[in-house]
């Protein structure tokens, strides 16, 4: 292995002037030579710190070893033992807080670029067309319904299928992938990649049903009592957009980030009129909020033709919840960041179109329950900013529909999230498990994937011990 190599191999990015005009992927990925060079830097620690820091516990040193040896297909097979979505996670995971954040190399030098390597081998496998599907050893008779085809549902379905269960994924939209297709833009995660991962999971024997809204098309109770599902995993995400509830918020030209991104990503509105769904993007766009969704919305607005895009955030750069890399990309592309301002009212014209956002200046006070310093309005500091389009990206909460239409499914009053045991993911309704954003509130793809994976373990345990008298108490009380 030889000498320590302190610097990580850079990954090529599309130049700024080119990327702000198109929805093509920004990050271009490693070549085989670059991947092997980067893999060479890994010390292959016998007691790795990166693996426990990964929510799905990929055997990172083992797959990097295979890259060092030039056996890229073996590398991707190792990843897929723990994560069926390597091409997705290699692109959108916050590796800096997880595997790469705990890498021992990172203490003094650049950490190993684990995400880039994961992405490389996944793309390599797709390019060579040699996707390897391990045959399932023994089939089990039980049926499991997975509700929602986002990251938690996909991983849960994949795990359960590999354990031999009969799994059906129900999706209410017309494409599979949940937030991966309606939320995350093409330039960060091309939709073909999500399609590829879904195809892989369906090869494992998972049945995919679209245009099926559990809670309306069928209720959860009907799935279990009439349609013969022995267990259910709810991975329905956090899709209900939040608004501030301030005057003028329903003026024309004010979108929730979810609507804006759904029109662009799921409905391909940026290709209107070739695609039928339109979108209105004016010259000056204000995005409210500074999380990953806000960055995605701001960068999408720029690509959809806006001349000036502003992020308006009530705290400071330090408190932003967006990944550093995403905020950096946004800044590189010329998005303006305005800190310590908070909208208090929108002003419109006589036809009801938004024209100005009135904001108030904020200062930071004592830390709040999130540990971040609480923003406090400075009285009398209101001023107006002219805008043509506004995108409200201040968070999403779970849709209330399933809880409303299901007997015995408890919800946390404040956030609308489902009550589920933290270890086993068992909800208050027997046979029903839940994980991902629907339990935690809006979080990351990989945390949802991890929840789907761990839940599959307990769904398996439940189905194998269903006749034990106190099985549900055991699962809901587990610590």
């Amino acid at each position: 292995m030889g000498r320590i190599k302190p610097k990580a191999v850079e990954m090529a990015k599309r130049p700024v002037e080119e990327r702000i005009k198109s929805f093509d992927e920004v990050a271009l990925g490693y070549t085989a030579e670059e991947a092997m060079k980067e893999a060479e830097r890994c010390l292959i620690c016998p007691k790795p710190t990166c693996v426990p820091a990964c929510p799905v516990h990929i055997d990172i040193p083992a797959f990097i070893k295979k890259i060092q040896e030039g056996d890229f297909l073996a590398a991707v097979r190792i990843i897929k033992q723990d994560n069926p979505l390597p091409a997705v996670c290699g692109r959108v995971c916050p590796q800096e807080d997880q595997c790469e954040g705990s890498c021992v190399m990172g203490r003094k030098f650049d950490p190993i670029s684990i995400g880039r390597l994961e992405r490389f081998v996944a793309d390599y496998e797709a390019k060579t067309g040699e996707v390897n599907v391990q045959p399932v050893k023994e089939k089990k008779p039980q049926k499991v319904a997975v509700v929602g085809s986002g990251p938690s549902g996909l991983v849960c379905a994949s795990e359960l299928a590999q354990k031999g269960y009969n799994v059906t994924v129900f999706e209410s939209l017309h494409e599979f992938g949940g937030v991966l297709v309606y939320g995350i833009p093409q330039f960060r995660l091309p939709k073909e990649i999500v399609k590829r991962e879904v195809e892989y999971i369906s090869k494992l024997g998972v049945k995919f049903v679209k245009n099926f809204f559990v809670g309306r098309t069928r209720t959860l109770d009907e799935l279990m009592e009439e349609d013969g599902f022995d267990a259910v995993f709810l991975g329905t995400g956090a899709g209900l957009p939040r608004f501030q509830g301030i005057p003028g918020e329903n003026l024309l030209g004010i979108y929730s980030a979810n609507e804006f991104l759904t029109r662009i990503n799921l409905m391909r509105a940026y290709k209107f009129p070739d695609y039928d769904t339109p979108i209105k993007v004016g010259d000056t766009v204000a995005v409210i909020g500074a999380g990953n969704v806000a960055m995605d919305a701001a960068r999408s607005a720029l690509r959809a033709g806006a001349k000036k895009v502003m992020i308006l955030y009530r705290r400071t750069e330090k408190e932003m919840t967006a990944r550093a890399e995403e905020a950096e990309n946004a800044m590189e592309e010329g998005i303006e960041f305005h800190f310590l301002v908070n909208p208090v009212r929108y002003h419109g014209d006589e036809n009801g179109w938004v024209k100005e956002v009135e904001v108030i200046r904020m200062k930071l006070g004592e830390p709040d329950e999130s540990g971040r310093r609480r923003p406090i309005p400075i009285e009398g500091s209101e001023f107006r900013i002219p805008v043509d389009t506004v995108i409200v990206a201040i968070g999403q909460i779970p849709s209330p529909i399933i809880a409303q239409t299901t007997k015995g499914l408890e919800v946390h009053k404040r956030w609308g999230t489902l009550v589920a045991n933290e270890k086993t993911f068992a909800t208050t309704k027997k046979g029903v498990f839940a994980g991902g954003d629907v339990v935690t509130g809006a979080a990351t793809v990989i945390l949802a994937a991890g929840a789907g994976k761990d839940a599959a373990k307990y769904i398996d345990y439940y189905l194998q011990n269903k006749d034990k008298p106190d099985i549900w108490e055991e699962l809901t009380k587990a610590k």
């Binding site: 209410s172 939209l173 017309h174 309606y182 049903v209 679209k210 245009n211 099926f212 809204f213 309306r216 098309t217 069928r218 209720t219 009907e222 899709g239 209900l240 957009p241 608004f243 509830g245 918020e249 329903n250 024309l252 030209g253 979108y255 929730s256 979810n258 609507e259 759904t262 029109r263 409905m267 391909r268 209107f272 009129p273 070739d274 695609y275 039928d276 769904t277 339109p278 209105k280 036809n351 009801g352 999403q396 849709s399 209330p400 529909i401």
Partner: protein, 280 residues
């Protein structure tokens, strides 16, 4: 899963009835609910009220009017063709009960949405009065269906070519002035008509429900495109509605929001018609 068109007929100028093979949707559909469909792979998601759900045969009837590109395209499909997507039932079912005497008002194309409500109110034991209004007699929809079920059936036309010359509100006013005790009004049609009905019934203290038709995208509560103001609060028509208390609805906002994409809708339709002309 194909969503096959089993039956198609023209029920008025530019208005069509279609029966779609959709057993999953038919099974749980209730009056007042709607579906979202996409005509083709690049299509937009459009919401349409369920006109009839045949649970036994797994079929859903929709009635639609050609207003833009998507409905134009839909109207060109024929029996045996399949829709790209068909999702439902969506929205809250209407609150149906035996209220006593119910006046159901359909204006223009709204009459298509009215039909399942008339059936449901009648089945619940109400004395059902229907007011069917249109600009002229050629645009009146579902005359036979409605007059067959209703206990009392009235027609209004703007030009007087049939029934009372005037608006549906003129007819409603007559009923009220004649001393008929009305326990509930259900109205669906152009926003201005619903707003005027609401104004009239508010004066007389008659509980009134309207079915709103804002622009939608997903129809499942995740985008907020369909937000409406009811009682000063923002509601999502797709999950909180489409039925709302007419006396609480901000109709002015609804009207404005419906016009948001007018330019794009025009552009899309023109492009489609040009393509049609080119392809003969």
């Amino acid at each position: 899963m194909g969503y096959k068109i089993l039956f198609k007929e023209e029920v008025g100028p530019g208005a069509y009835r279609m029966i779609i093979d959709a057993p999953h949707v038919a099974k749980n559909a209730r009056p007042g609910q709607f579906i979202v469909l996409r005509v083709h792979e690049k299509g937009e998601r459009i919401p349409l009220t369920i006109s009839k759900a045949d649970k036994e045969n797994g079929q859903i009837t929709i009635i639609f009017q050609v207003v833009g590109k998507s409905t134009k395209h839909l109207s060109l499909l024929n029996e045996g063709d399949e829709l790209a997507d068909f999702l439902g039932p969506l929205g809250m079912p209407s609150e149906i009960d035996n209220f006593g005497t119910v006046v159901l008002i359909g204006g223009g194309f709204g009459t298509a949405v009215l039909y399942p409500m008339v059936v449901a109110y009648k089945e619940a034991g109400n004395h059902v009065i229907v007011i069917n209004g249109a600009r002229n007699k050629d645009l009146l929809l579902l005359e036979k269906d409605l007059s067959n079920i209703a206990d009392e059936y009235f027609v209004t036309t703007d030009d007087g070519s049939k029934g009372l010359k005037g608006f549906v509100t003129d007819m409603l006013k007559q009923l009220i002035e004649n001393g008929i005790k009305i326990d509930r009004v259900f109205a669906v049609g152009p926003v201005i008509m619903m707003a005027n009905v609401a104004k009239l019934t508010k004066e007389h203290g008659i509980k009134t429900i309207v079915s709103l038709n804002p622009i939608m995208v997903d129809g499942t509560g995740m985008c907020g495109a369909c937000r409406v103001e009811v009682g000063g609060k923002t509601k999502f028509a797709c999950v909180d509605g489409p039925d709302f208390d007419a006396h609480e609805v901000n109709f002015d906002l609804l009207m404005k929001r419906l016009r948001m994409y007018r330019k794009e809708e025009q552009e899309s339709l023109e492009k489609f018609e040009k393509e049609l002309a080119q392809n003969g």
